[in-house]
Protein backbone atom coordinates (compact mmCIF):
# COMPACT_ATOMS: atom_id res chain seq x y z
CA UNK A 1 0.00 0.00 0.00
CA UNK A 2 2.64 2.40 1.06
CA UNK A 3 4.95 1.47 -1.77
CA UNK A 4 2.15 1.93 -4.22
CA UNK A 5 1.41 5.38 -2.88
CA UNK A 6 5.09 6.19 -2.97
CA UNK A 7 5.28 5.03 -6.56
CA UNK A 8 2.27 7.10 -7.51
CA UNK A 9 3.77 10.17 -5.91
CA UNK A 10 7.04 9.53 -7.66
CA UNK A 11 5.30 9.10 -10.96
CA UNK A 12 3.36 12.30 -10.61
CA UNK A 13 6.45 14.13 -9.54
CA UNK A 14 8.21 12.79 -12.59
CA UNK A 15 5.39 14.01 -14.80
CA UNK A 16 5.52 17.43 -13.26
CA UNK A 17 9.28 17.50 -13.41
CA UNK A 18 9.27 16.41 -17.02
CA UNK A 19 6.59 18.94 -17.74
CA UNK A 20 8.72 21.63 -16.28
CA UNK A 21 11.67 20.32 -18.19
CA UNK A 22 9.51 20.28 -21.25
CA UNK A 23 8.72 23.94 -20.98
CA UNK A 24 12.29 24.66 -20.14
CA UNK A 25 13.54 22.79 -23.14
CA UNK A 26 11.05 24.59 -25.27
CA UNK A 27 12.37 27.80 -23.94
CA UNK A 28 15.92 26.72 -24.42
CA UNK A 29 14.99 25.47 -27.80
CA UNK A 30 14.64 29.05 -28.90
CA UNK A 31 17.61 30.29 -30.77
CA UNK A 32 20.35 31.09 -28.31
CA UNK A 33 21.64 34.59 -28.01
CA UNK A 34 24.70 35.54 -29.92
CA UNK A 35 28.04 34.20 -28.81
CA UNK A 36 29.46 37.50 -27.71
CA UNK A 37 26.06 38.80 -26.69
CA UNK A 38 24.83 40.06 -23.38
CA UNK A 39 26.70 39.04 -20.25
CA UNK A 40 25.25 35.86 -18.79
CA UNK A 41 24.57 37.39 -15.38
CA UNK A 42 21.97 39.73 -16.75
CA UNK A 43 18.66 38.01 -17.36
CA UNK A 44 17.38 38.40 -20.87
CA UNK A 45 13.72 38.43 -21.63
CA UNK A 46 12.49 36.04 -24.25
CA UNK A 47 11.21 38.76 -26.49
CA UNK A 48 14.60 40.48 -26.31
CA UNK A 49 16.28 37.18 -27.01
CA UNK A 50 14.16 36.67 -30.08
CA UNK A 51 14.71 40.20 -31.17
CA UNK A 52 18.45 39.83 -30.92
CA UNK A 53 18.25 36.74 -33.05
CA UNK A 54 16.10 38.48 -35.62
CA UNK A 55 18.46 41.40 -35.74
CA UNK A 56 21.38 39.08 -36.16
CA UNK A 57 19.50 37.43 -38.98
CA UNK A 58 19.43 40.78 -40.75
CA UNK A 59 15.85 41.72 -39.83
CA UNK A 60 14.56 45.20 -39.24
CA UNK A 61 13.71 46.43 -35.76
CA UNK A 62 9.98 46.24 -36.58
CA UNK A 63 10.24 42.53 -37.08
CA UNK A 64 10.68 42.15 -33.36
CA UNK A 65 7.06 43.16 -32.87
CA UNK A 66 5.85 40.48 -35.23
CA UNK A 67 6.04 37.32 -33.29
CA UNK A 68 5.68 34.22 -35.43
CA UNK A 69 1.97 33.62 -35.61
CA UNK A 70 0.86 30.21 -34.39
CA UNK A 71 -2.04 30.01 -36.78
CA UNK A 72 0.08 30.03 -39.87
CA UNK A 73 1.32 26.58 -40.80
CA UNK A 74 5.03 26.01 -40.97
CA UNK A 75 6.01 24.72 -44.34
CA UNK A 76 8.13 21.87 -43.05
CA UNK A 77 5.43 20.65 -40.67
CA UNK A 78 2.87 20.90 -43.43
CA UNK A 79 4.99 18.82 -45.75
CA UNK A 80 5.88 16.24 -43.17
CA UNK A 81 2.33 16.12 -41.87
CA UNK A 82 0.90 15.56 -45.32
CA UNK A 83 3.54 12.96 -46.03
CA UNK A 84 2.86 11.17 -42.74
CA UNK A 85 -0.86 11.19 -43.35
CA UNK A 86 -0.60 9.88 -46.88
CA UNK A 87 2.04 7.29 -45.99
CA UNK A 88 -0.05 6.03 -43.09
CA UNK A 89 -3.19 5.96 -45.20
CA UNK A 90 -1.39 4.12 -47.95
CA UNK A 91 0.26 1.62 -45.64
CA UNK A 92 -2.91 0.92 -43.72
CA UNK A 93 -5.17 0.57 -46.70
CA UNK A 94 -2.65 -1.56 -48.58
CA UNK A 95 -1.09 -3.71 -45.89
CA UNK A 96 -3.04 -3.77 -42.67
CA UNK A 97 -6.71 -2.97 -43.06
CA UNK A 98 -7.54 -5.48 -45.83
CA UNK A 99 -6.20 -8.28 -43.65
CA UNK A 100 -8.10 -7.04 -40.65
CA UNK A 101 -11.28 -6.65 -42.61
CA UNK A 102 -10.77 -10.02 -44.24
CA UNK A 103 -10.40 -11.75 -40.92
CA UNK A 104 -13.42 -9.92 -39.54
CA UNK A 105 -15.47 -10.77 -42.60
CA UNK A 106 -14.30 -14.37 -42.42
CA UNK A 107 -15.31 -14.52 -38.81
CA UNK A 108 -18.72 -13.02 -39.38
CA UNK A 109 -19.15 -15.28 -42.38
CA UNK A 110 -18.24 -18.23 -40.27
CA UNK A 111 -20.54 -17.19 -37.48
CA UNK A 112 -23.33 -16.66 -39.97
CA UNK A 113 -22.65 -20.07 -41.47
CA UNK A 114 -22.67 -21.81 -38.16
CA UNK A 115 -25.84 -19.99 -37.20
CA UNK A 116 -27.42 -21.07 -40.45
CA UNK A 117 -26.13 -24.56 -39.85
CA UNK A 118 -27.57 -24.59 -36.37
CA UNK A 119 -30.85 -23.26 -37.69
CA UNK A 120 -30.90 -25.94 -40.35
CA UNK A 121 -30.07 -28.65 -37.84
CA UNK A 122 -32.78 -27.39 -35.58
CA UNK A 123 -35.34 -27.42 -38.38
CA UNK A 124 -34.23 -30.88 -39.32
CA UNK A 125 -34.46 -32.11 -35.77
CA UNK A 126 -37.87 -30.56 -35.47
CA UNK A 127 -38.97 -32.34 -38.63
CA UNK A 128 -37.61 -35.61 -37.33
CA UNK A 129 -39.28 -35.06 -34.01
CA UNK A 130 -42.56 -34.25 -35.73
CA UNK A 131 -42.18 -37.45 -37.75
CA UNK A 132 -41.57 -39.47 -34.65
CA UNK A 133 -44.47 -37.87 -32.93
CA UNK A 134 -46.67 -38.60 -35.89
CA UNK A 135 -45.51 -42.19 -35.94
CA UNK A 136 -46.11 -42.45 -32.25
CA UNK A 137 -49.60 -41.06 -32.64
CA UNK A 138 -50.19 -43.45 -35.51
CA UNK A 139 -49.01 -46.35 -33.45
CA UNK A 140 -51.21 -45.28 -30.59
CA UNK A 141 -54.20 -44.99 -32.85
CA UNK A 142 -53.34 -48.34 -34.40
CA UNK A 143 -53.05 -50.06 -31.06
CA UNK A 144 -56.29 -48.47 -29.91
CA UNK A 145 -57.93 -49.62 -33.07
CA UNK A 146 -56.58 -53.13 -32.58
CA UNK A 147 -57.68 -53.24 -29.00
CA UNK A 148 -61.08 -51.94 -29.94
CA UNK A 149 -61.33 -54.47 -32.70
CA UNK A 150 -60.31 -57.23 -30.35
CA UNK A 151 -62.79 -56.07 -27.83
CA UNK A 152 -65.49 -55.96 -30.45
CA UNK A 153 -64.67 -59.38 -31.74
CA UNK A 154 -64.49 -60.68 -28.19
CA UNK A 155 -67.85 -59.14 -27.54
CA UNK A 156 -69.30 -60.66 -30.61
CA UNK A 157 -67.72 -64.00 -29.78
CA UNK A 158 -69.06 -63.75 -26.29
CA UNK A 159 -72.50 -62.85 -27.50
CA UNK A 160 -72.27 -65.65 -30.00
CA UNK A 161 -71.16 -68.11 -27.40
CA UNK A 162 -73.80 -66.95 -24.99
CA UNK A 163 -76.48 -67.24 -27.59
CA UNK A 164 -75.24 -70.64 -28.59
CA UNK A 165 -74.97 -71.75 -25.01
CA UNK A 166 -78.39 -70.43 -24.30
CA UNK A 167 -79.87 -72.08 -27.32
CA UNK A 168 -78.05 -75.28 -26.46
CA UNK A 169 -79.26 -75.08 -22.92
CA UNK A 170 -82.71 -74.38 -24.17
CA UNK A 171 -82.44 -77.32 -26.53
CA UNK A 172 -81.15 -79.46 -23.73
CA UNK A 173 -83.91 -78.33 -21.49
CA UNK A 174 -86.45 -78.95 -24.17
CA UNK A 175 -85.00 -82.37 -24.85
CA UNK A 176 -84.95 -83.12 -21.16
CA UNK A 177 -88.50 -82.06 -20.82
CA UNK A 178 -89.47 -84.14 -23.78
CA UNK A 179 -87.54 -87.04 -22.46
CA UNK A 180 -89.09 -86.64 -19.09
CA UNK A 181 -92.48 -86.36 -20.56
CA UNK A 182 -91.88 -89.42 -22.68
CA UNK A 183 -90.54 -91.23 -19.67
CA UNK A 184 -93.51 -90.28 -17.62
CA UNK A 185 -95.83 -91.32 -20.34
CA UNK A 186 -94.03 -94.59 -20.60
CA UNK A 187 -93.97 -95.02 -16.84
CA UNK A 188 -97.59 -94.12 -16.59
CA UNK A 189 -98.57 -96.52 -19.27
CA UNK A 190 -96.36 -99.15 -17.71
CA UNK A 191 -97.84 -98.39 -14.37
CA UNK A 192 -101.24 -98.66 -15.72
CA UNK A 193 -100.50 -101.98 -17.24
CA UNK A 194 -98.82 -103.13 -14.06
CA UNK A 195 -101.62 -101.83 -11.84
CA UNK A 196 -103.89 -104.29 -13.44
CA UNK A 197 -101.39 -107.09 -12.97
CA UNK A 198 -100.70 -106.03 -9.47
CA UNK A 199 -104.33 -105.74 -8.63
CA UNK A 200 -104.78 -109.25 -9.82
CA UNK A 201 -101.76 -110.38 -7.83
CA UNK A 202 -102.99 -108.53 -4.78
CA UNK A 203 -106.30 -110.13 -5.15
CA UNK A 204 -104.64 -113.47 -5.47
CA UNK A 205 -102.62 -112.85 -2.32
CA UNK A 206 -105.57 -111.58 -0.42
CA UNK A 207 -107.35 -114.61 -1.35
CA UNK A 208 -104.44 -116.87 -0.60
CA UNK A 209 -103.42 -115.53 2.74
CA UNK A 210 -106.63 -114.48 4.16
CA UNK A 211 -105.45 -115.53 7.56
CA UNK A 212 -106.13 -112.68 9.71
CA UNK A 213 -107.58 -109.36 9.48
CA UNK A 214 -104.50 -107.56 10.63
CA UNK A 215 -102.35 -109.15 7.97
CA UNK A 216 -104.80 -108.13 5.32
CA UNK A 217 -104.90 -104.56 6.41
CA UNK A 218 -101.15 -104.36 6.57
CA UNK A 219 -100.86 -105.88 3.18
CA UNK A 220 -103.23 -103.46 1.63
CA UNK A 221 -101.61 -100.51 3.28
CA UNK A 222 -98.26 -101.65 2.09
CA UNK A 223 -99.46 -101.96 -1.36
CA UNK A 224 -101.14 -98.67 -1.35
CA UNK A 225 -98.03 -97.13 0.01
CA UNK A 226 -95.96 -98.75 -2.65
CA UNK A 227 -98.15 -97.77 -5.55
CA UNK A 228 -99.38 -94.37 -4.45
CA UNK A 229 -97.42 -91.42 -3.46
CA UNK A 230 -96.65 -92.61 0.05
CA UNK A 231 -93.96 -90.51 1.73
CA UNK A 232 -92.55 -93.12 3.98
CA UNK A 233 -90.64 -95.70 2.02
CA UNK A 234 -92.11 -99.24 2.15
CA UNK A 235 -90.09 -101.35 4.48
CA UNK A 236 -89.56 -105.03 4.43
CA UNK A 237 -91.00 -106.75 1.42
CA UNK A 238 -92.20 -103.44 0.05
CA UNK A 239 -88.54 -102.34 -0.48
CA UNK A 240 -88.32 -103.79 -3.94
CA UNK A 241 -91.50 -102.02 -4.88
CA UNK A 242 -90.25 -98.80 -3.51
CA UNK A 243 -87.41 -98.83 -6.04
CA UNK A 244 -89.94 -98.99 -8.80
CA UNK A 245 -92.10 -96.42 -7.14
CA UNK A 246 -89.27 -93.92 -6.86
CA UNK A 247 -89.04 -93.42 -10.59
CA UNK A 248 -92.33 -91.69 -11.14
CA UNK A 249 -91.45 -89.40 -8.27
CA UNK A 250 -88.69 -87.81 -10.36
CA UNK A 251 -91.04 -86.30 -12.85
CA UNK A 252 -92.50 -83.64 -10.58
CA UNK A 253 -88.96 -82.57 -9.63
CA UNK A 254 -87.74 -82.22 -13.20
CA UNK A 255 -90.63 -80.25 -14.45
CA UNK A 256 -90.18 -76.99 -12.56
CA UNK A 257 -86.68 -76.47 -13.87
Amino acid sequence: MRTRRLLATLGLATIVGLGGADVASAVEGAPPPGEGGAPPAEPIEHSAEECIHILEGGGAIDDCQEAPNPILPELNELIWGAASFLVLLGLLSKLALPGLRQSMDARSERIRNSLDEAERARTEAEAVLAGYQRQLADAKAESGRIIEEARQSADSVKADLLARAESEAEEQRRRNAEQIAAERDRVMSELQSQVAVLAIEMAERVVESNLDRDANIRLIENYINAVGNGSGGPDGAGGQKAGAGSRPRQAPEGNPS
Binding site: L12, T14, I15, V16, L18, G19, G20, D22, V23, A26, V27, G29, A30, P31, P43, H46, S47, E50, A67, P68, P70, I71, L72, P73, E74, L75, N76, E77, L78, I79, W80, G81, A82, S84, F85, V87, L88, L89, L91, L92, S93, L95, A96, L97, P98, G99, L100, R101, Q102, S103, M104, R107, R110
Partner: protein
Protein backbone atom coordinates in the same frame (compact mmCIF):
# COMPACT_ATOMS: atom_id res chain seq x y z
CA UNK B 1 15.98 32.89 -13.71
CA UNK B 2 14.17 36.23 -13.86
CA UNK B 3 15.04 39.13 -11.65
CA UNK B 4 12.14 38.62 -9.28
CA UNK B 5 12.74 35.38 -7.43
CA UNK B 6 9.63 35.77 -5.30
CA UNK B 7 7.43 35.44 -8.37
CA UNK B 8 9.04 32.91 -10.60
CA UNK B 9 5.97 32.82 -12.79
CA UNK B 10 7.26 33.48 -16.20
CA UNK B 11 4.81 32.22 -18.75
CA UNK B 12 6.59 31.40 -21.94
CA UNK B 13 5.10 33.01 -25.01
CA UNK B 14 2.93 30.88 -27.19
CA UNK B 15 5.56 30.60 -29.85
CA UNK B 16 7.95 29.08 -27.33
CA UNK B 17 5.70 26.28 -26.19
CA UNK B 18 4.63 25.20 -29.61
CA UNK B 19 7.45 26.00 -31.95
CA UNK B 20 10.34 23.64 -31.91
CA UNK B 21 13.73 24.20 -33.47
CA UNK B 22 14.91 21.98 -36.21
CA UNK B 23 16.76 18.93 -34.98
CA UNK B 24 18.19 17.97 -38.32
CA UNK B 25 17.43 18.46 -41.93
CA UNK B 26 18.35 22.14 -41.93
CA UNK B 27 15.90 25.00 -41.67
CA UNK B 28 14.33 24.46 -45.04
CA UNK B 29 11.03 22.87 -46.00
CA UNK B 30 12.27 19.46 -44.93
CA UNK B 31 13.42 20.47 -41.49
CA UNK B 32 12.73 17.82 -38.89
CA UNK B 33 11.77 19.04 -35.45
CA UNK B 34 10.08 17.47 -32.46
CA UNK B 35 6.63 17.73 -33.99
CA UNK B 36 7.74 15.96 -37.14
CA UNK B 37 9.37 13.20 -35.12
CA UNK B 38 6.15 12.78 -33.15
CA UNK B 39 4.31 12.49 -36.44
CA UNK B 40 6.65 9.74 -37.50
CA UNK B 41 6.18 7.89 -34.24
CA UNK B 42 2.43 8.27 -34.56
CA UNK B 43 2.52 6.79 -38.04
CA UNK B 44 4.61 3.93 -36.77
CA UNK B 45 2.33 3.31 -33.79
CA UNK B 46 -0.91 3.30 -35.74
CA UNK B 47 0.52 1.24 -38.53
CA UNK B 48 2.13 -1.15 -36.07
CA UNK B 49 -1.14 -1.64 -34.23
CA UNK B 50 -3.13 -2.48 -37.32
CA UNK B 51 -0.37 -4.43 -38.96
CA UNK B 52 0.05 -6.61 -35.88
CA UNK B 53 -3.70 -7.03 -35.69
CA UNK B 54 -3.91 -8.07 -39.32
CA UNK B 55 -1.04 -10.54 -38.89
CA UNK B 56 -2.60 -12.51 -36.06
CA UNK B 57 -5.97 -13.28 -37.55
CA UNK B 58 -7.14 -15.71 -34.94
CA UNK B 59 -10.76 -16.66 -34.97
CA UNK B 60 -11.31 -15.45 -31.45
CA UNK B 61 -9.71 -12.00 -31.30
CA UNK B 62 -7.43 -11.31 -28.38
CA UNK B 63 -5.11 -8.55 -27.33
CA UNK B 64 -4.02 -6.26 -30.10
CA UNK B 65 -6.34 -7.84 -32.63
CA UNK B 66 -9.30 -7.33 -30.34
CA UNK B 67 -8.28 -3.73 -29.79
CA UNK B 68 -7.92 -2.97 -33.48
CA UNK B 69 -11.18 -4.68 -34.28
CA UNK B 70 -13.06 -2.77 -31.62
CA UNK B 71 -11.72 0.47 -33.12
CA UNK B 72 -12.92 -0.70 -36.50
CA UNK B 73 -16.32 -1.63 -35.09
CA UNK B 74 -16.59 1.65 -33.27
CA UNK B 75 -15.87 3.67 -36.42
CA UNK B 76 -18.19 1.50 -38.48
CA UNK B 77 -21.15 1.37 -36.10
CA UNK B 78 -20.72 4.65 -34.29
CA UNK B 79 -19.67 6.87 -37.15
CA UNK B 80 -20.19 5.50 -40.64
CA UNK B 81 -23.45 3.61 -40.23
CA UNK B 82 -25.04 6.47 -38.32
CA UNK B 83 -24.11 9.14 -40.82
CA UNK B 84 -23.51 7.79 -44.32
CA UNK B 85 -25.01 4.34 -44.14
CA UNK B 86 -23.85 1.13 -45.76
CA UNK B 87 -22.53 2.81 -48.88
CA UNK B 88 -20.07 4.74 -46.75
CA UNK B 89 -18.19 1.57 -45.90
CA UNK B 90 -15.70 2.27 -48.67
CA UNK B 91 -14.51 5.26 -46.65
CA UNK B 92 -13.79 3.03 -43.67
CA UNK B 93 -10.00 2.89 -44.15
CA UNK B 94 -9.80 6.66 -44.39
CA UNK B 95 -11.99 7.24 -41.37
CA UNK B 96 -10.38 4.56 -39.19
CA UNK B 97 -6.96 5.85 -40.07
CA UNK B 98 -8.04 9.44 -39.45
CA UNK B 99 -9.51 8.62 -36.06
CA UNK B 100 -6.46 6.70 -34.89
CA UNK B 101 -3.94 9.12 -36.31
CA UNK B 102 -5.63 12.18 -34.81
CA UNK B 103 -6.00 10.45 -31.49
CA UNK B 104 -2.35 9.40 -31.33
CA UNK B 105 -1.10 12.79 -32.43
CA UNK B 106 -3.35 14.37 -29.81
CA UNK B 107 -2.43 12.10 -26.97
CA UNK B 108 1.23 13.20 -27.11
CA UNK B 109 -0.05 16.14 -25.15
CA UNK B 110 -0.08 14.16 -21.94
CA UNK B 111 2.64 11.62 -22.66
CA UNK B 112 5.70 12.42 -20.56
CA UNK B 113 8.83 13.46 -22.47
CA UNK B 114 6.81 14.22 -25.59
CA UNK B 115 4.16 16.54 -24.10
CA UNK B 116 3.44 18.26 -27.32
CA UNK B 117 0.26 17.63 -29.26
CA UNK B 118 1.11 17.56 -32.92
CA UNK B 119 -2.26 19.09 -33.67
CA UNK B 120 -1.43 22.15 -31.61
CA UNK B 121 0.43 23.14 -34.74
CA UNK B 122 -1.98 24.13 -37.45
CA UNK B 123 -0.12 22.29 -40.19
CA UNK B 124 -1.64 18.84 -39.79
CA UNK B 125 -5.22 19.95 -39.03
CA UNK B 126 -5.13 22.37 -41.94
CA UNK B 127 -3.86 19.69 -44.28
CA UNK B 128 -6.49 17.20 -43.14
CA UNK B 129 -9.26 19.79 -43.41
CA UNK B 130 -8.22 20.59 -46.97
CA UNK B 131 -8.16 16.90 -47.73
CA UNK B 132 -11.64 16.43 -46.28
CA UNK B 133 -12.83 19.44 -48.25
CA UNK B 134 -11.49 17.90 -51.43
CA UNK B 135 -12.97 14.51 -50.65
CA UNK B 136 -16.49 15.64 -49.90
CA UNK B 137 -16.56 17.98 -52.87
CA UNK B 138 -15.30 15.28 -55.20
CA UNK B 139 -17.86 12.85 -53.81
CA UNK B 140 -20.62 15.39 -54.24
CA UNK B 141 -19.65 16.21 -57.81
CA UNK B 142 -19.27 12.53 -58.67
CA UNK B 143 -22.66 11.71 -57.20
CA UNK B 144 -24.73 14.64 -58.37
CA UNK B 145 -22.73 16.29 -61.11
CA UNK B 146 -21.15 19.71 -60.78
CA UNK B 147 -24.31 21.74 -61.19
CA UNK B 148 -26.51 19.37 -59.26
CA UNK B 149 -24.07 19.50 -56.39
CA UNK B 150 -23.82 23.28 -56.43
CA UNK B 151 -27.60 23.51 -56.62
CA UNK B 152 -28.13 21.15 -53.72
CA UNK B 153 -25.61 23.08 -51.66
CA UNK B 154 -26.72 26.60 -52.47
CA UNK B 155 -30.45 26.10 -52.88
CA UNK B 156 -31.62 23.89 -50.06
CA UNK B 157 -35.18 22.78 -50.71
CA UNK B 158 -38.07 23.80 -48.53
CA UNK B 159 -37.05 27.45 -48.35
CA UNK B 160 -39.34 30.23 -49.61
CA UNK B 161 -38.09 31.64 -52.90
CA UNK B 162 -37.49 35.12 -51.54
CA UNK B 163 -35.24 33.82 -48.81
CA UNK B 164 -32.75 32.41 -51.30
CA UNK B 165 -31.21 35.88 -51.50
CA UNK B 166 -30.19 35.38 -47.91
CA UNK B 167 -29.80 31.63 -47.75
CA UNK B 168 -27.70 31.00 -50.83
CA UNK B 169 -24.66 33.09 -49.87
CA UNK B 170 -24.79 31.77 -46.33
CA UNK B 171 -24.93 28.18 -47.49
CA UNK B 172 -22.19 28.69 -50.04
CA UNK B 173 -19.86 30.32 -47.56
CA UNK B 174 -20.62 27.89 -44.79
CA UNK B 175 -20.11 24.86 -46.98
CA UNK B 176 -17.06 25.83 -48.95
CA UNK B 177 -15.24 28.20 -46.62
CA UNK B 178 -16.39 27.81 -43.05
CA UNK B 179 -16.42 24.03 -43.07
CA UNK B 180 -12.70 23.45 -43.67
CA UNK B 181 -11.83 26.46 -41.58
CA UNK B 182 -13.86 25.32 -38.60
CA UNK B 183 -12.75 21.74 -39.02
CA UNK B 184 -9.08 22.63 -38.81
CA UNK B 185 -9.43 25.44 -36.30
CA UNK B 186 -11.55 23.31 -33.97
CA UNK B 187 -8.93 20.63 -33.71
CA UNK B 188 -5.99 22.98 -33.65
CA UNK B 189 -7.44 25.46 -31.17
CA UNK B 190 -8.68 22.78 -28.80
CA UNK B 191 -5.29 21.19 -28.65
CA UNK B 192 -3.41 24.48 -28.50
CA UNK B 193 -5.65 25.74 -25.71
CA UNK B 194 -5.26 22.48 -23.85
CA UNK B 195 -1.52 22.60 -24.28
CA UNK B 196 -1.33 26.20 -23.06
CA UNK B 197 -3.52 25.27 -20.11
CA UNK B 198 -1.26 22.40 -19.17
CA UNK B 199 1.87 24.49 -19.64
CA UNK B 200 0.41 27.24 -17.48
CA UNK B 201 -0.44 24.88 -14.70
CA UNK B 202 2.88 23.13 -14.96
CA UNK B 203 4.65 26.45 -14.70
CA UNK B 204 2.50 27.48 -11.76
CA UNK B 205 2.94 24.15 -10.02
CA UNK B 206 6.68 24.15 -10.56
CA UNK B 207 6.98 27.74 -9.38
CA UNK B 208 4.91 27.17 -6.27
CA UNK B 209 6.97 24.15 -5.35
CA UNK B 210 10.05 26.30 -4.87
CA UNK B 211 8.50 29.30 -3.19
CA UNK B 212 8.08 29.19 0.58
CA UNK B 213 4.63 30.56 1.44
CA UNK B 214 3.15 29.50 -1.86
CA UNK B 215 3.74 25.89 -0.97
CA UNK B 216 0.47 25.93 0.96
CA UNK B 217 -1.58 26.25 -2.20
CA UNK B 218 0.73 24.04 -4.22
CA UNK B 219 -1.38 20.87 -3.62
CA UNK B 220 -4.46 22.52 -5.11
CA UNK B 221 -2.57 23.64 -8.13
CA UNK B 222 -1.09 20.19 -8.46
CA UNK B 223 -4.48 18.51 -8.10
CA UNK B 224 -5.88 20.80 -10.74
CA UNK B 225 -2.97 19.93 -13.00
CA UNK B 226 -3.74 16.23 -12.59
CA UNK B 227 -7.42 16.84 -13.25
CA UNK B 228 -6.66 18.88 -16.32
CA UNK B 229 -4.39 16.16 -17.61
CA UNK B 230 -7.32 13.77 -17.39
CA UNK B 231 -9.51 16.33 -19.10
CA UNK B 232 -7.02 16.67 -21.92
CA UNK B 233 -7.12 12.92 -22.46
CA UNK B 234 -10.87 13.27 -22.88
CA UNK B 235 -10.35 16.17 -25.26
CA UNK B 236 -7.89 14.14 -27.29
CA UNK B 237 -10.41 11.34 -27.77
CA UNK B 238 -13.31 13.68 -28.31
CA UNK B 239 -11.59 15.81 -30.90
CA UNK B 240 -10.48 12.76 -32.85
CA UNK B 241 -14.06 11.49 -32.75
CA UNK B 242 -15.52 14.85 -33.74
CA UNK B 243 -13.12 15.35 -36.61
CA UNK B 244 -13.90 11.89 -37.92
CA UNK B 245 -17.65 12.10 -37.52
CA UNK B 246 -17.74 15.54 -39.11
CA UNK B 247 -15.82 14.17 -42.06
CA UNK B 248 -18.41 11.42 -42.31
CA UNK B 249 -21.25 13.94 -41.98
CA UNK B 250 -19.81 16.09 -44.75
CA UNK B 251 -19.37 13.09 -47.02
CA UNK B 252 -22.91 11.98 -46.20
CA UNK B 253 -24.24 15.43 -47.03
CA UNK B 254 -22.50 15.34 -50.38
CA UNK B 255 -23.74 11.81 -51.07
CA UNK B 256 -27.37 12.23 -50.12
CA UNK B 257 -28.60 15.73 -50.86
CA UNK B 258 -31.51 16.88 -48.77
CA UNK B 259 -34.71 16.22 -50.61
Amino acid sequence: MPAMPSLALEFPPVSHVTEWPSIFGGDGPLAVNKVVILMWISVALVFGLFYAASRKRSLVPRGVQNFAESIWDFVRDGIVMQTIGPEGLKFMPLLVMMFCFIFVTNIWEVIPVAQMPVNARIALPAYMAVLVWLIFNVVGIAKQGLFGYLKSVCFPPGVPKALYILVTPIEFVSTFIVRPLSLSVRLFANLLAGHLLLVSFIVITAALFTVGPGLAIWPFSFALLVGLTGFEVLVAVLQAFIFTILTAVYIAGAMHPEH
